[in-house]
């Protein structure tokens, strides 16, 4: 008999079969071991970002996209009508207002307290949202500005002044009011934005004022707006754990 056959026969004799109960017990213990080791792990920041992205309701981004389409359509229809062009500011305000429901969802749902006490606290949540919304909105805006200036021949300077500037100011208002210590309702923030929109329209549609504002002035205003926006963003992150430093007439104490 060949060696191979002898070894094969030996194997057959020695082979044993597992019992069902030991398999089940092994599965059980393996599961326990796995979950025990998983519990000790901490969710990494990029996994956290990814999950935040999944939770954000995309419908608001879709609405923003639709808004930009409509604006593009209006510009196309109006062509050279400069008054219509100047009204882009209104659309800009609306664009920013559409962030409010989703970005500050935890505020309107009064979920701040629970979120502030978790491992990834409010600071990380807001930073994550800023990143996600920042990327998405920058992408949408770039697409819009690019296609509008390319296909409709609208000068970039016009876009900067008529659209992006009021957008920036509106964002400042939103981040400034909704992330301050004093709890203002979203309606107030929206109200302020609309107010700004009105003021802006008055300025821009008034031929006298508009033509008197020269390029350096615009540049200065733009710089101011950008700085204010970054300051507001910074304040959000720095101050988000101080919301409770306000006693509300002794009721919540």
């Amino acid at each position: 008999m060949s060696l191979e056959k002898q070894l094969r026969d030996y194997k057959k004799i020695r082979e044993i079969s597992p019992r069902e109960n030991e398999i089940l017990e092994t599965v059980r213990k393996s599961g326990e071991a796995f979950f025990a080791s998983e519990q000790d792990k901490v969710l990494s920041y990029h996994e956290f970002l990814w999950l935040q992205l999944k939770v954000v309701r995309k419908r608001w981004w879709v609405l923003q996209l639709i808004l930009l389409f409509v604006l593009g359509g209006v510009l196309l229809a109006a062509q050279e009508d400069k008054y219509i062009q100047r009204s882009m500011g209104v659309a800009a305000t609306l664009f920013v207002i559409l962030i409010i429901p989703e970005f500050w969802k935890n505020r309107s749902c009064r979920a701040l307290e629970v979120e502030a006490v978790s491992f990834y606290s409010l600071r990380q949540i807001y930073a994550a949202r800023m990143m996600l919304f920042g990327i998405a909105d920058t992408f949408l805006l770039t697409l819009f500005c690019g296609s509008v200036s390319f296909s409709l021949g609208v000068a970039f300077k016009e876009l900067l002044v008529q659209f992006l500037f009021p957008l920036c100011v509106t964002a400042c208002i939103c981040f400034g009011t909704l992330c301050s210590r004093h709890i203002l309702q979203e309606a107030v923030a929206v109200g302020l934005c609309i107010l700004w929109s009105g003021v802006w329209l008055l300025i821009i549609l008034n031929e006298h004022i508009y033509t008197n504002i020269t390029l350096p002035v615009w540049a200065f205003l733009w710089g101011l707006a950008l700085v204010s926006l970054f300051a507001a963003l910074y304040r959000v992150l720095a101050g988000c754990n101080k919301y409770w430093e306000v006693s509300l007439d002794g009721i919540e104490i």
């Binding site: 008999m1 060696l3 002898q6 070894l7 026969d9 004799i13 030991e22 393996s30 071991a33």
Partner: protein, 174 residues
């Protein structure tokens, strides 16, 4: 094995049904592998369970690189070696210890052959015996054996040749 890729992914997500599938897939092979190192069946079963528990403990950090089976064998091999270090060299009688119901007792000839092979195997060095176990009993490919033992293919072939030669000589003498 591509099937393992999907399975491991499901397991990493905590899908308990996939744990069951995985364990059932490899349990018998690992169990039998362990019995060649530990004739004591109960001991072998304990080690087998430990192999899977170890694997699952490290599952979170496990990156699928193909050949999960080889990885399991590596764990099993290390565990067997660790346990061995704690014990003294097992006396000859223990090779036949317990578990009468698990063995397929055949003819007188079969029994004689079994003893012969066993004696011959015992005469091999540890590394040669390992190759025999993995090649003939676990029916692994040469490349897989090399992967598990962390040696090159030529060395695997060499050891296998040596082992077969020594076994033949042993058996002829016996």
């Amino acid at each position: 094995m591509d099937a393992d890729f999907l399975l491991i992914r499901q397991m990493k997500q905590g899908d308990e049904a996939s744990f069951d599938v995985f364990v059932r897939k490899y349990y018998k092979d690992i169990l039998n592998y362990c019995t060649y190192h530990y004739p004591d069946r109960e001991y072998a079963r304990d080690i087998t369970q430990e192999v899977f528990v170890r694997f699952f403990s490290g599952l979170s950090g496990y990156h699928y690189r193909g050949k999960t089976k080889n990885y399991l064998y590596t764990i099993a091999r290390n565990l067997c070696r660790d346990y061995l270090k704690k014990m003294r060299e097992t006396p000859v009688e223990e090779w036949d210890a317990c578990g009468g119901e698990d063995r397929k007792e055949n003819t007188m000839e079969g029994v004689l052959d079994k003893l012969t092979v066993e004696q011959a195997l015992k005469g091999l060095s540890e590394e040669l015996r390992e190759v025999i176990i993995l090649y003939y009993f676990q029916e692994l490919k040469l490349t897989e054996i090399g992967d598990i033992l962390h040696i090159g293919l030529p060395l695997v072939k060499y050891r296998l040749r040596q082992a077969k030669m020594q076994l033949k000589n042993c058996i002829e003498i016996i």
